[in-house]
């Protein structure tokens, strides 16, 4: 009796243990890094083939796909064709004519390559404006016990359709008498105001402005860059199709 029960249990265990999981999915063959903005000079799309884990060449151009056909369409069917630009710093595609994309407008991207096709869409964030500070405002240095800094209180109007804002702050510093170089800080926020204490180093270049840029970006850009989502706003390829509206203001620091 007892042996029979054990036999039954073992038979059931054997039967139970056979779970047929047959799963496979074709991995993406290429990646896309596409950000379209209201800034004509900054339109750039990069397309790279994916690599095996064993490939160790770190030069992006080694993987760059040169024969892609790229179009961007809007709701009113306007179409922009992209052309490839060779660059030592990394090849990329840009519109055949300088193009500014309009805030609040939905754009569709189509890519045809030898590695397959991809498509996606994004809606540019809405228009907005920086309300504080004003262009060319000057700030006085505040001296603390240990450091000197200026306090910049940034404010801007809300951009609809945007997921958040990146504030980019840059200023020039002297490097041992050579040409000044820029030091850049970046901040991420969902609010429409941000207070920044900018530490003023000893080699700060006072006759050059602090350049403050604000980028209102869409959720695809955020998902890919900050949430590690492998394909955001795209189908058929990994990467992202993001959009942004960028505003800038220059301010100065008064030397005392």
């Amino acid at each position: 009796m007892n042996i029979r029960i054990i036999q039954i249990i073992l038979m059931i265990a054997l039967f139970y243990g056979c779970e047929p999981i047959t799963n496979s999915i074709e991995p993406e063959k290429f990646s896309v890094a596409a950000l379209i903005t209201n800034n004509a000079a900054s339109q750039r799309i990069q397309i790279f083939r994916t690599a095996s884990l064993n490939e160790q060449n770190d030069d992006p151009n080694y993987y760059f796909i040169e024969s892609a056909k790229i179009t961007v369409e809007a709701d009113d069917t306007s179409e922009v064709f992209y052309v490839m630009v060779s660059s030592a710093n990394g090849n990329y595609y840009r519109p055949s004519e300088p193009t500014e994309y309009e805030p609040n407008k939905k754009y569709t991207l189509n890519i045809i390559t030898d590695f397959g096709n991809a498509s996606g869409s994004t809606t540019l964030p809405g228009q907005y404006s920086i309300t504080e500070p004003n262009e060319n405002d000057a700030y006085k240095i505040i001296y603390d016990q240990y450091i000197k800094y200026v306090e910049i209180n940034l404010k801007w109007t809300e951009s609809n359709n945007s997921y958040g804002y990146i504030i980019n702050l840059s200023y020039a510093v002297n490097q041992n008498g050579e040409k000044p170089t820029y030091v850049t800080f970046a901040y991420l926020t969902k609010k429409t105001a941000y207070d920044i204490n900018v530490q003023i180093p000893d080699n700060f270049v006072f006759n050059k402005p602090i350049i403050i840029s604000i980028m209102a970006f869409d959720i695809n850009y955020y998902n890919h860059l900050f949430r590690n989502i492998s394909n955001a706003g795209l189908e058929g390829a990994v990467g992202y199709l993001g959009s942004a509206v960028i505003k800038s203001v220059n301010v100065f620091v008064e030397e005392q």
């Binding site: 007892n2 029960i5 249990i9 139970y16 243990g17 779970e19 999981i21 799963n23 496979s24 991995p27 993406e28 990646s31 896309v32 890094a33 903005t37 800034n39 000079a41 900054s42 990069q46 790279f48 994916t50 690599a51 095996s52 884990l53 490939e55 060449n57 770190d58 992006p60 710093n89 990394g90 450091i147 958040g164 980019n168 840059s170 820029y182 850049t184 800080f185 970046a186 901040y187 926020t189 969902k190 920044i196 204490n197 530490q199 350049i211 980028m215 998902n223 890919h224 860059l225 900050f226 949430r227 590690n228 492998s230 394909n231 706003g233 990994v238 990467g239 942004a244 960028i246 800038s248």
Partner: protein
């Protein structure tokens, strides 16, 4: 191959040890018999029979039968059952003699303490839950640092852990968030300290634990898999005190009469932060403490009022080191639970009782950290809160062969989450740091939601005949936000094939209205706060149908217990997260398997051998895949050996199949984060290009299998009026390097790979408990 052979030999030697014990036990004398109710002459089940001479014991079967082996000589047997007057009897047995005894227990007059027990008498005749754990079990199973009422459950079949240090409970192919962990029936939404290494509940306050691996009775609700209900010590007029000192914490528990009532108070605190001070900030700047208070006040012989309070807090002191220009770190990041409960128990007569209770259970996490350094501002603002406000009334009616429970519950859930984190130091620890809250969590993030849930339930347990019993339950749950009512039936039929063998079949339907979005393994190592979300539409409400078939045998040989349970769970609308858009989905799935437990309680060598087969599958958009908590094969062996009468050495060996993970099958170049080196005149001109891993089929690979051996020695002796109970535990004796998770965050260079992070080590623990 060599390792495999060693493990095989190890298992063989364990089996040989058990076999030799079995043989040696046969040669001893035996005492057997029945325990009866002195007035009704009914056979009493689950009566404790304890030999005060040898400290051995057993309990009666469902039919009131008991049998256990004794050495020849004089023995003092104490027979006890709650609600009955204990009986003590001295016996003398000769070598190889078998003697039969019938004990008659007299019911005690009705007392407040016995109210719940009257109901239990019937309930325990029907097999309701798979396993019960006593305080003694807590001490016998070697555990990390100190006896832990939640982690101890992981030693049982059907329960799996994410890794060696995680306290999260995965029951029968369900996710950790599908298990209600409750203290005196009140759910705890943040039941762990230190991301799961310790549970929030101090083991010294516990009377017993009830664990439902699946098919739980409908007096509970709202969770898809099972229930772990930790029951604290009840009203008592006797003074007792327990103080424990361990390697990481100290605790004190006092139970004392107070103003005609009884107070149970317990406090525990770690030393880790103090050690850190001693090491001049080179240690781990972390601490936790918890406080439990319960005051029971009998108004008279028929009415009892109880007020319970529980508070737990973890603190992590950020940035105690390094240079900074400005620091505002008060309060320090902290998280834990706050709970208050009031209950009123009224006894109409011996068979009818009414229980009303209301509680507020809150889990929280707060951080208001701000630091400025080198012109950069780092901050971690977190305000997370889950609040459960519930009022519940239930009546229990007990009469011959029938135990009926009726109840109603009104529950209000309030969820509020906010975080805004910008801290390079935290990113160095976990990136993205907000993923500790849920998979692919945004940052900053704000969420607020609430729900009213109204439930009614009825649970009837009937003994149809001596061989046949049935439990029928029904729960009706209304969710205001969804404006929908759910009818949730359950039943369980038990049939005795013989005096020793019973079979049972059960069905239950369950819903879950609080779900987490946590599937990835890497974050399970440290999760200070798990966020739960309410369904916004019907298709997001998780549902499950449980089917169970069990065979239970008692005393087939050597006073052992054998239970075999097969289960099948049909699951709907489970949360799933993906590395592509859309990130979150609700998917159906199923889980099935089998749990086997062979347990031997009597003799110098006791313990259990457990095996679980667990298969847990989700039906994804394109294919079916194993869930991350699928651990197909699990072996758990506990062997305890008693020596010098009051000392025990326990060995616990566990083996589990590795958990599935999504492998990196290739890599790709993409923009990665905004960088600090771009041309400032053109905002996005030169995005930094980085390598990322290209994920393959979801959960198509597995981590390496894990196994380890833990050994513990416990004992007791009397010293200066105290019972002193020292313990020594060594975890992972043979230093098995068990895996934790796959590290895929190495996407900053081209060297992307599936890197298995391992790191278990030998952990010795020593401690001592003083009881008065």
């Amino acid at each position: 191959m060599k390792q495999l052979r060693i493990y095989f030999l190890f298992i063989l030697s364990l089996l040989a040890t058990i076999s030799s014990t079995i043989i040696s036990q046969d040669k001893k004398s035996t005492v057997k018999g029945y325990v009866l109710d002195a007035t009704t002459k009914e056979k009493l089940s689950y009566v404790s029979i304890f030999d005060s001479t040898t400290f051995k014991g057993t309990s009666t079967s469902k039919r009131g039968y008991f049998s256990f082996a004794l050495s020849s000589g004089a023995h003092l047997l104490r027979v006890s059952l709650l609600g009955y007057k204990p009986v003590t009897k001295k016996i003398f047995v000769k070598h190889n003699e078998t003697i039969e005894i019938i004990f008659n227990l007299t019911p005690l007059p009705i007392e407040i303490e016995a109210v719940t027990i009257q109901g239990e008498k019937i309930k325990k005749n029907i097999r309701e839950r798979t396993y019960d754990l006593s305080v003694a079990d807590l001490r016998e199973i070697p555990q990390v640092f100190e006896p832990d009422p939640i982690r101890v459950v992981q030693a049982l079949p059907g329960v799996t852990a994410a890794n060696d240090f995680s306290g999260a409970l995965y029951l029968r192919g369900g996710n950790f968030d599908e298990t209600m962990i409750a203290i005196d029936n009140v759910p705890l939404y943040n039941p762990n300290h230190l991301g799961g290494m310790f549970s929030s509940v101090n083991s010294d306050i516990i009377a017993n634990e009830e664990l439902y691996l699946s098919n739980y009775p409908q007096k509970f609700g709202g969770f898809l898999s099972g229930i772990l209900n930790i029951q604290t010590k009840k009203f008592s007029n006797k003074f007792s005190a327990v103080a424990s000192v361990g390697i990481s914490s100290a605790k004190i528990t006092v139970k004392t009469p107070l103003f005609k009532g009884s107070l149970l108070a317990s406090y525990r605190r770690t030393y880790l932060d103090l050690v850190n001070l001693f090491l001049k900030d080179e240690g781990f700047p972390y601490s936790f403490n918890d406080l439990f208070l319960k005051y029971s006040y009998p108004l008279n012989k028929k009415n009892l009022i109880e007020v319970t309070g529980f508070y737990s807090q973890d603190k992590y002191i950020l940035f105690t080191r390094g240079d900074y220009d400005y620091l505002d770190a008060d309060p320090y990041p902290s998280w834990g639970n706050k709970l208050i409960k009031a209950s009123f128990l009224h006894l109409f007569n011996k068979n009818i009782s009414l229980n009303f209770n209301c509680f507020v259970s809150n889990a929280y996490m707060n951080s208001n950290f701000l630091m400025k350094r080198y012109g950069q501002t780092e901050y971690a603002n977190v305000v997370n809160s889950i609040t459960d406000i519930t009022a519940k009334i239930n009546a229990e009616i007990t009469f011959t062969g029938n135990s009926l429970m009726l109840g109603a519950e009104v529950k209000n859930l309030f969820l509020k989450y906010f975080w805004d984190i910008n801290s390079n130091e935290l990113y160095d620890l976990i990136y993205p740091v907000q993923d500790v809250f849920f998979d692919y969590a945004p940052n900053p993030y704000r969420y607020e939601s609430s729900e009213n849930i109204i439930s009614f339930f009825i649970l009837d347990q009937l003994l149809i005949s001596k061989l046949f019993s049935i439990q029928v339950g029904f729960r009706s749950t209304y969710l205001r936000h969804l404006n929908k009512n759910y009818l949730l039936p359950s039943f369980k039929i038990s049939f005795s094939l013989s005096e020793k063998i019973e079979i049972a079949f059960g069905y239950g339907r369950y819903i879950q209205y609080l779900n987490s979005f946590k599937e990835r393994k890497s974050e399970n190592l440290f999760a200070p706060f798990t966020t739960f979300f309410l369904p916004q539409k019907e298709s997001q409400l998780s549902k499950s149908n449980h089917f169970i078939l069990g065979v239970y045998a008692e005393n087939l040989f050597l006073n052992s217990k054998l239970s075999v349970e097969l289960y099948y769970k049909l699951r709907q609308n489970l949360t799933a997260s993906y590395n592509y858009t859309p990130i979150y989905r609700n998917e159906d799935g199923y889980a099935y398997g089998m749990d086997i437990l062979f347990k031997k309680n009597i003799g110098k060598i006791t313990g259990w051998i457990g095996y679980s087969l667990i298969l847990s599958i989700k039906e994804g958009e394109y294919y079916n895949y194993f869930t991350v908590y699928d651990r197909t094969n699990n072996f758990k062996i506990l062997i305890g050996y008693q020596f010098f009468k009051k000392w025990r050495i326990n060995a616990f060996w566990t083996y589990a199949t590795g958990t599935p993970y999504t492998p990196i099958t290739g890599k790709f170049i993409s923009a990665n984060d905004y960088s600090n080196d771009r041309d400032p005149n053109i905002f996005i001109y030169n995005p930094s290009l980085n390598w990322r891993g290209l994920e393959g089929t979801k959960n198509s690979m597995r981590l390496s299998d894990s196994h380890r051996l833990d050994i513990g020695i416990t004992g007791s002796f009397i010293w200066g009026g105290f019972i002193v109970k020292p313990y020594l535990q060594i975890l992972n004796v043979y230093n098995s390097s068990n895996p934790y998770f796959i590290d895929n965050k190495s996407f900053y260079d081209s060297n992307v790979k599936n890197k298995e992070i391992r790191g278990s080590t030998i952990i010795p623990t020593i401690g001592v408990t003083f009881e008065y």
